[in-house]
Symmetry: C3
Subunit: 201 residues, 3 copies
């Protein structure tokens, strides 16, 4: 189950990176670099933290070829991609959900406690976006209030952990947890939901 989730998450995240690269006028190598950093960043950090080697994209080279192919397409038809920029939120939300669930699942498999598994899920789900923001020199949106980014990843992890504790089969729990995280993210962005912040003034 995890391989299928990772494939979809990598495709969604790579597309997000490609769209941002295209919007910033990057060439094909720059587009591929930012796409790979966004798509592989979170899972790579998880693998390093859990000491899993080969890294997931080294073990499944097809993921790398897919990101390469998508990047070349993005560099060839950037105008078409730019037109679908309002849709950027979709791969962003789905990638977030898929990666946070995949990260949690892999950490549980490695014998981690629920708290650690949730942290690994959030890291896997959000770190690609953090790298992407650092590349474009913005305060990572993970840390800003607006899009509930880490909160959505956390929701996906917690739903998955709860269903795992109830022994729900993964064929059910993984899609449900992914959908929960992605839905919250989509709604949060559309309605501009934020967590409450107590003013310090």
């Amino acid at each position: 189950m995890i391989p299928t989730i990772e494939l979809a998450a990598v495709a969604a995240s790579a597309l997000y990176g490609i769209l941002r690269g295209v919007r910033n006028g990057f060439d094909v190598v720059g587009i591929f670099s930012v796409a790979a950093a966004t798509a592989f960043g979170g899972g790579t950090l998880r693998d390093l933290f859990l000491d899993r080697r080969p890294l997931f994209w080294v073990e499944r080279e097809s993921l790398l070829w897919m990101v390469l192919g998508l990047s070349v397409i993005g560099a060839i038809v950037p105008r078409r991609l730019a037109r679908i920029e309002p849709l950027l939120i979709w791969p962003d939300a789905i990638g977030l959900g898929l990666f946070s669930v995949a990260g949690t699942a892999v950490a549980l498999q490695s014998g981690m406690t629920p708290l650690i598994a949730a942290v690994m899920g959030v890291i896997t789900g959000t770190f690609g976006g953090v790298i992407c923001d650092v590349i474009f020199n913005e305060t990572p949106s993970l840390f800003r209030t607006t899009p509930l980014c880490a909160t959505c990843a956390l929701l996906g992890s917690v739903v998955y952990l709860a269903m795992a504790a109830l022994e729900v089969p993964v064929t059910v729990s993984q899609p449900v947890a992914t959908a929960a995280a992605a839905t919250l993210r989509l709604v949060a962005v559309w309605r501009n939901w934020t967590l409450p912040v107590r003013s310090i003034a």
Copy 2:
């Protein structure tokens, strides 16, 4: 001895991250993220470099719970925290001293040479702050001249290494080295001490 030091260093560094998150209007998830990155960043890099797994915060989950608790408190009473902002220098200096000594001690334990142990100490002591600065999109203060940040970490490492070579027991050498680094840091910030820089103009 190392566990006690790490507990104090994590608390001090987390507090520093929380205060900066609060000042920037972060919500509770953002505050926790920046607190965890600041508190665990340096030690995580040290553990990755020395190939120590589980990572120190995975092995001692209580550290993670503590940072979580402090972050929730910070999000609930931010105004009180903001009022103590002039005190920010204290956790910063103490965390710097504690982490650089802990990093040096762990590296020595792993059979590293004194130079490598000093480098690991400086990395452990300063990298959390570097991540914190990158998050807030500032040139990491480690690299700027003003606060003698890396120099203080280096002092802590060197004092510890010298006392280790003289076979001073760690119950003495660790507090002394920590105090040396923290004191230099405090005085440097208060008096705005810098290392001399030769002008290139």
Copy 3:
């Protein structure tokens, strides 16, 4: 052969970091920090990804002493260094070539496929510069179009991989591949070559 290449690459990259630190008015500790991050960043990431420990600069402590010595010299005679700033392109290009070839060679030795070896070569060749740019708060030039940075590293990797497939001895293939990458980089910067970018307007 790899040790010699790494020595030259570290020297070239450290010099690049030192020159940028000097230009930004850093003190000796700041200069050493940025020099070490630039010189060791790419190879460290490669070693972490391939699970090679001790890290290359831990195993060969002489590299660390060399960077330390160069940094001290840079802090003592910054004006002389600043005068040679137009020459900055040389260590940059040579370091890029040397590191990308060393990264590819090490990855092949570790049994990686050619695609993974090429990615590791590009990471090793460019990541030090990326860290350097993040320190100075610029969009990493790896991702911008102008200097063909990643493209040059890729050329070095591909030339090396092609010659390895043809069983050319490394005493020939390593200098040739390094020269190919460095030459392309030099010419690209001098002539301001870029890859074509399709406009999205």
